[in-house]
């Protein structure tokens, strides 16, 4: 068997290093950071942001920002996103200095509570304005946490989608599938943290470590910026003789992947194979061939191979992709009206407790279209501000009035995006419970006439 030789690995070049920062927002966010640090994550700066001083002091991150020093006085936000947001706005400058100069910013938060739901969209927005590629990784609350928390989370998720390049959304309900029901709830939460820290690590490693076949910042951007901001992620690591197959299976078993079914709709898929010096060509072949069965023939597969001595005899497979539906493109271009608009910066709150700019509407859990409009109205223009215009001068903040026509376009995207959230399958009838037959990314158990949209009758 052909052995890939280590010498072929390119030296890491200094000019390629990217500054990556991970910000954990709120209690859940800082848990994720702790987990990431525990698992070992290099060349990445960690920042914890929280309103609750107690939780903040417990965090292991090397930089900590207390939100709303005057507003909450070191207490938590009490599950109130508006308070969380107000607190974040109070500490706006601190956040801005933390995100300044970052190339990639991961924002981790648990949605549903106060600080995470309120502050995370705001932080994402600030980072985006500072020119970073913003990836937000959030957990959605368990259904049993109550309708209100779920609604808060959904509202916040919508704002985050608007304010970031990509969102990887982990539903705790699905995460629970990773653990057995009789395990402690704390383990179920921990499972989510592990998965999130894995994805951060995988993306960070992809960018930082030299590869035989290298994947870089540009590839990530093309994959994540291209989609509709709903990222797919899978990570698997395995050891032993059959590690290539096992690692791939594990990565597809990730709750976000739906056993690989979701990949069929992706236009770009990044796959990175990492292993020690003994990765064989055969193993790479196995991974790629099996993966190819899950993607459609139009999908562009970008493969990276990294040789990392620290991996020992293990081999890992990371798959990153985003759901891209070309039919939604037209909507998207419409929502870049900010291109023509002068950049309107968030009025920087100089005094404590400013008027919140992002208002989370929670009174009615399913807002009608009109309500939705209100909700994002203030936010829409600057979130979509292109990078060139976004190194904003402070005085730009003064010219306040956003142009109304620009705002009108915003709600459309939101609706389009929301549709993607529901991925309940079409009817598979009696094959509902059997192993799916997937060829070329098509689920053959679904009636052909439905898949091909042949009109019958």
């Amino acid at each position: 068997m052909v052995q890939l030789n280590r010498q072929y690995g390119r030296e890491e070049t200094a000019n390629e290093t990217r500054k990556i920062r991970v910000i954990g927002v709120g209690g859940a966010g800082s848990n994720i950071l702790d987990r990431a640090l525990l698992d070992g994550i290099d060349h990445v700066e960690l920042t914890t942001v929280n309103t609750d001083v107690q939780s903040l002091t417990g965090s292991v991150a090397n930089q900590k920002i207390q939100l709303g020093r005057n507003l909450t006085r070191g207490l938590g936000s009490g599950g109130d996103p508006e308070l969380g947001l107000a607190a974040a706005e109070e500490s706006c400058e601190e956040i801005q200095s933390a995100v300044a100069g970052c190339d990639i910013l991961f924002v981790c938060a648990g949605l549903g509570g106060g600080t995470g739901s309120g502050a995370a969209p705001f932080i994402a927005k600030l980072a985006k304005e500072a020119g970073a590629l913003v990836l937000v990784l959030v957990t959605m609350p368990f259904t049993f946490e109550g309708r209100r928390r779920c609604a808060q989370a959904a509202a916040s998720l919508q704002l985050i989608r608007e304010n970031s390049d990509a969102v990887i959304c982990f539903e705790n309900d699905r995460m629970a599938e990773l653990t057995l029901p009789r395990m402690g709830i704390h383990e179920a939460f921990a499972a989510a943290d592990v998965t999130i820290s894995q994805s951060i690590r995988a993306i960070a490693n992809l960018l930082l470590q030299p590869g035989l076949i290298r994947l870089g910042f540009d590839d990530i951007c093309s994959v994540l910026r291209d989609g509709d901001a709903r990222a797919l992620f899978g990570f698997g690591e395995a050891d032993g003789e059959n590690r290539a197959h096992d690692a791939l299976v594990k990565s597809l078993r990730n709750p976000l992947m739906h056993r690989g079914e979701m990949l069929a709709n992706a236009t770009h898929v990044i796959v990175q194979i990492r292993g020690g010096a003994n990765v064989t060509l055969g193993e790479v072949g196995i991974v790629m061939e099996e993966l190819n069965r899950h993607v459609s023939h139009r999908t562009q597969l970008m493969m990276g191979i990294a040789i990392d001595g620290a991996m020992g005899s293990r081999l890992s497979v990371s798959i990153i992709s985003s759901l891209g539906d070309s039919s939604e493109r037209p909507h998207k271009t419409e929502v870049y009206p900010a291109l023509q608009e002068p950049v309107r910066l968030e009025p920087v709150p100089a005094q404590p407790a400013p008027e919140p700019v992002i208002t989370l509407r929670l009174e009615d859990e399913r807002p009608a279209n009109g309500a939705k409009l209100d909700q994002v109205e203030h936010l829409a223009p600057e979130t979509r501000a292109p990078i060139e215009t976004q190194a904003p001068k402070k005085d730009a903040a003064k010219e306040a009035d956003p142009a109304k026509p620009a705002l009108k376009a915003a709600p459309k995207t939101i609706e389009a995006k929301q549709e993607v959230l529901q991925f309940d399958a079409v009817s598979r009838g009696r094959f509902e419970k059997s192993e799916p037959t997937i060829i070329d990314g098509q689920d053959l158990d679904v009636p052909t006439f439905l898949r091909r949209r042949v009109k019958v009758g």
């Binding site: 068997m1 032993g240 003789e241 059959n242 290539a244 197959h245 064989t280 055969g282 193993e283 072949g285 196995i286 009817s427 598979r428 009838g429 009696r430 094959f431 059997s434 192993e435 037959t437 060829i439 070329d440 053959l444 158990d445 009636p447 052909t448 006439f449 439905l450 091909r452 042949v454 019958v456 009758g457």
Partner: protein, 405 residues
């Protein structure tokens, strides 16, 4: 005790379990002594999903066959299918050591082993290593290199593999009924033995066996197996599509498919309907024939298109002189051969097993292609089996023999 010249083929299909008992006669022909049948349950897409239920069905079919043929069955040739079965072609190379120039049996075995040495996932195991062509010192067209002089022996093989545990399930099912499994054969090969003669194989042929749960196909080019595959889509899917599309119960859809199934489009009179009479638990209604045909047409066309794509990927479509042979239960859909001709651009026909002697007339039906193919396979193995039963020579001879013919 079973006699030495009795062969039993067992096909555990998604719709039915079928057992064929045949006797090899002195003039090297095969006579069918009896066929046992049982509707199957606990099997989906060609694989066991409910072990105990499936075992009972196999037991019923075996008992039926024993009764009809008056033979006590002790050993079966087992047909295997399922979406996990995959295949590829690979070449093995052996260089003879210094001072030796004649190719012997060990070299043939070594070249086979060499070809199998590819990295498969650990959970998989090789089912068949079928010889395609030998090359001696680069010379093409060597039929049997044994005893030839040469320095380098190369051979192309078609290697079929599947997930070990799933294959073991079927074997265990047989074993728990106190039966021995003589050999495991993938269904598509078995079927090809039943429906193709030597000439077809030489001219090049594509056999598609559309059963209840799977569509198995095999491509013969120049007498050798060039390609094979299993697509886990079959008649069950058609039934399911009808059930969903026409909103009728599954059992009713199955019956309707068998009675009226047709893939022809544009052949129905405008407004022509099929009347479903009311039964207990089902209010009768009328179904537009064109709609009905359309649903089946879409599914069958898709199956053919997938096969065509896979065969075409290796550019084998151009070598199929004998055309396409469609068999299996679902080949009973009316007009399926025309649809196949259209998709493959090749002459296509529905085919039943080639005639054998014995109580055959009832079994010269596409449904029984695989089960009869299994006994033909067993017979061919037996014919090729040398008197001296060295395990090496046996396996080698048998495989080289069968698939060359």
């Amino acid at each position: 005790m079973a006699r030495d010249n009795i062969f039993v083929g067992l096909e555990i299909g998604t719709t039915k379990v079928c057992v064929v008992v045949a006797e090899a006669r002195h003039d090297n022909t095969l006579k069918i002594l009896g066929v046992g049948n049982a509707p199957s349950r606990g099997i989906r897409k060609g694989e066991l999903v409910d072990f105990e239920t499936a075992k009972r069905c196999v037991h019923d079919a075996i008992a039926d066959a024993e009764e009809r043929s008056d033979v006590e069955i002790s050993e079966v040739y087992l047909g295997i299918s399922g979406g996990h079965i995959r295949s590829f072609n690979n070449r093995g190379i052996v260089v003879l050591e210094e001072g030796r120039e004649e190719i012997d049996e060990q070299d043939l075995e070594d070249v086979r082993t060499n070809a199998r040495e590819v990295s498969l996932p650990m959970e998989d195991c090789v089912l068949h290593t079928i010889i395609q062509h030998y090359y001696v010192d680069g010379q093409d067209g060597v039929l049997n290199p044994l005893g030839l002089f040469g320095k380098k022996l190369e051979a192309d093989f078609h290697i079929v593999y599947g997930i070990r545990t799933r294959i073991q399930n079927a074997i265990r099912c047989v074993k728990e009924l106190e039966l021995e499994t003589a050999d495991v054969v993938i269904n598509s090969f078995a079927t090809a033995q039943a429906v193709l003669d030597k000439n077809h194989k030489q001219q090049g042929a594509l056999v598609i066996d559309i059963g209840g749960g799977t569509a198995d196909f095999v491509v013969y080019v120049e007498g050798a197996v060039k390609q094979s595959g299993v697509i886990a889509v079959g008649g069950d899917h058609i039934t399911n599509d009808l059930s969903i599309g026409l909103k009728i119960p599954s059992a009713r859809a199955e019956k309707l498919k068998i009675e009226e199934g047709d893939v022809t489009l544009g052949n129905a009179f405008p407004g022509e309907t099929i009347v479903l009479r009311d039964e207990t638990g089902f209010a009768g209604r009328e179904i537009e024939r064109e709609t009905f045909n359309q649903i089946i047409h879409c599914r069958v066309r898709e199956i053919f298109e997938i096969v065509a794509r896979q065969v075409d990927a290796d550019q084998n479509l151009n070598y199929l002189g004998a055309g396409v042979f469609i068999t299996g239960g679902s080949s009973q859909l009316r007009g399926i051969e025309h649809l196949a001709s259209e998709v493959f651009g090749l002459p296509s026909r529905i085919t039943a097993p080639l005639p054998l002697t014995g109580v055959t007339s009832a079994f010269e039906h596409p449904q029984f292609s695989t089960a009869i193919g299994l006994v033909r396979y067993a017979h061919l193995v037996h014919l090729d089996r040398p008197m001296a039963r060295g395990i090496l020579s046996r396996t080698m001879k048998r495989l080289s023999g069968i698939f060359r013919t």
